[in-house]
Subunit: 395 residues, 2 copies
């Protein structure tokens, strides 16, 4: 099994420590799976203490043996009961923690209160923003993992073409995509950071289910087959000459690939074909404009301007109350990473960010058309990590 | 699409309100998907205020239209920005909230701090225990949903028998189970309440991967194919004459069914067959003993005594540090519901609890054998909700 290289972990910890020093924090406690994996190489149940200076300590509740095999950190300690954490910190001479960071965007309240009670003289700061910004810029190792995921996306999106038939339900297609993903090594979950956000392996949205607005921060969400999930594929049967939008995600060694393609049995109406061509043009435009130093808001504005030029602005990235204000997002250990390509996200593109760009049009009752590909920001512009042809896929 | 009946929601709210009154709370704010669905019938992004007396108010950020269709509550209000919540509470004359409950076991810290800041004179209490205890006892409607899920489990566990072949990877089998689950209507996720606990559709654990201890609170966890997930199926190829443990979960309209069966191509060694027989005997014993009023700890002790009697105590529910101290758990909207059939869970069986009972033996290097079925507690003892034959499944 592939573990995270020691030099990766060291680089990440050292960049994080620089931020802790800059924020006048004595250290940070890391608990959430994606962050824990990023900084330690394991998700075995543990609390990771990263001091502003010195070696991190991974205090493992379960399973210590596996954590030792998986993590290259020097201090991987069995701490069955978390009430022993202050003692372990003392043993390592971290007995003067006056200010420390916590992942307050995801850490449950009871754990926060436990930290308050356990280290009563400590001041607590939210370090989730710092971590999310650190994780924006990927290393070559991380980009390689994402490319492994996109290779599987390509396999799935190609093979599913020969599976889709008129009269089949969305759920049958979704099931096939799940089967392919797992067979090829998808780790089994797509992590999202957002509170209450949940993700299935795929969204298969045919005809009007592609235009159903959902709770997700996405232009499409689908009906699903129950309000208990309220997204994704349902029992709707695939018809001829309607768009079938497939959003597909796969994660390899933690890293997510995220791709969307539009399929049709037969052909689309001229307005939908025109919208698809416009989505593709917008993606070309974005890949030209997306250079290091360009503002996220500027990219968003260029995409919206192009959609408006074609008279399609009302349907770009959703319609009415369902319209979302972004055209792309970072991917990595989570599917909703920074940066967000949005008017509200105040940042410029940096080298080795990885972006999922997803221009889409949604038409009431008719469905969703568009595409999504993953890109690495390089000093020569964008490099595409996904490999599927960008045409509308006709069956 | 099936929505939760109005009378269900009314019953749940009224039982909850009695608990709020008993706890001297003026109300509670519900945000987490499973709880939100339980009390409102929708998971559209929202904050639900349940007053100790009077009609609940569902304040919906996204998507209001869908929330209105899905929820039978009288007050389903669009509140785009959550900062407007105090105003809405005022409008409904709830302007004197001195003490209120929050789901502090799952609510992220930043949301807790937001509530503190937004209603500064309010005292906050953790109501997660109250909610989990309320949800222990199911209605006929809920039990019916769980039975729909167990019907799909039976389909999958039966059909997979003709799929399993020597040399196939665990992941291929997992993928097939995912395909069947989705095709039949599995909603796409299995919710767990525990912090950082994640779940795939199935665990397919062959030979020694069945004896790999994991971070999960489970006797088995599997290797997975990456430390980023660290559980479930991996690329290990199925061999003859070794146990293949399959733990399978499906959720219908939110409600989880959870089942485990042991498969083998060929036959198991005598010690493993003896252990399987013992697991089955323990399940029979539990179904005899599990009457309304029996203590959870007593059931656990009876199971352990039986395992010890057969000289198998060291391998019951795991071995060494991986041994877990329970033999069953509640299921419902989450897979880790109350009660826990454990020496540490201080409760007695009540009518209409639904239990997943899972006696298993884990042998180092050899794997996991055992079975798991779902039961309703009735006034005449347990009623089995799963329908698969309880023999070892030989291929």
């Amino acid at each position: 099994m592939e573990t995270v290289p020691k030099e990766e972990i060291e680089k990440r910890i050292s960049r994080f420590q620089a931020q802790l020093v800059a924020g006048s924090l004595d250290g940070a406690f890391i608990l959430q799976n994606a962050d824990l994996f990023y900084f330690s190489g394991t998700i075995q149940t543990a609390v990771l203490f990263v001091p502003a200076k010195g070696d991190p300590i991974l205090m493992v509740q379960k399973n210590h043996e596996r954590a030792q095999l998986e993590s290259s950190l020097n201090h991987v300690i069995a701490v069955k009961n978390k009430n022993r954490i202050p003692q372990v910190l003392n043993d390592f001479k971290f007995d003067q923690i006056a200010a420390a960071g916590l992942e307050m965007d995801v850490l449950p309240t009871n754990l926060y209160l436990w930290f308050q009670q356990t280290l009563p003289s400590c001041r607590w700061a939210d370090i989730s923003g710092i971590i999310r910004k650190l994780r924006m810029r990927k290393t070559d190792y991380e980009i390689n993992q994402i490319e492994k995921a996109t290779a599987i996306l390509h396999t799935g999106l190609t093979q599913i073409k020969s599976v889709i038939r008129e009269g089949m339900t969305e759920l049958e297609i979704d099931g096939h995509l799940a089967m392919i993903a797992r067979r090829e090594g998808h780790m089994g979950t797509l992590r999202m950071r957002g509170w209450n956000q949940e993700m299935t392996y795929a969204h298969v949205l045919s005809g009007d289910s592609g235009s159903t607005v959902s709770l997700l921060n996405s232009p499409h969400g689908g009906t699903g087959n129950t309000p208990a999930m309220a997204q994704g594929a349902g029992f709707r049967r695939i018809k001829k000459n309607e768009p079938i939008g497939i959003d597909y995600g796969v994660a390899i060694n933690g890293y997510v690939g995220d791709q969307f393609r539009t399929y049709v049995i037969g052909d689309l109406s001229d307005p939908l074909k025109k919208a698809y061509a416009c989505a593709r043009d917008i993606l070309s435009l974005l890949t030209e404009k997306a250079q290091v130093g360009v503002r996220c808001a500027e990219l968003y504005a260029a995409a919206v301007a192009k959609a408006n030029e074609e008279g399609l602005g009302d349907f770009f990235m959703g319609y009415g109350a369902g319209q979302v204000k972004f055209i792309g997002h970072g991917i990595g250990l989570e599917i909703d990473e920074y940066p967000v390509i949005s008017p509200h996200f105040d940042a410029v593109l940096e080298k080795n960010m990885v972006l999922a760009l997803e221009p889409k049009f949604v038409f009431p009752q008719k469905g969703v058309v568009g595409l999504e590909d993953d890109y690495q920001v390089t000093s020569n512009g964008l490099r595409r990590l996904t490999r599927t042809d960008q045409d509308l896929i006709q069956i």
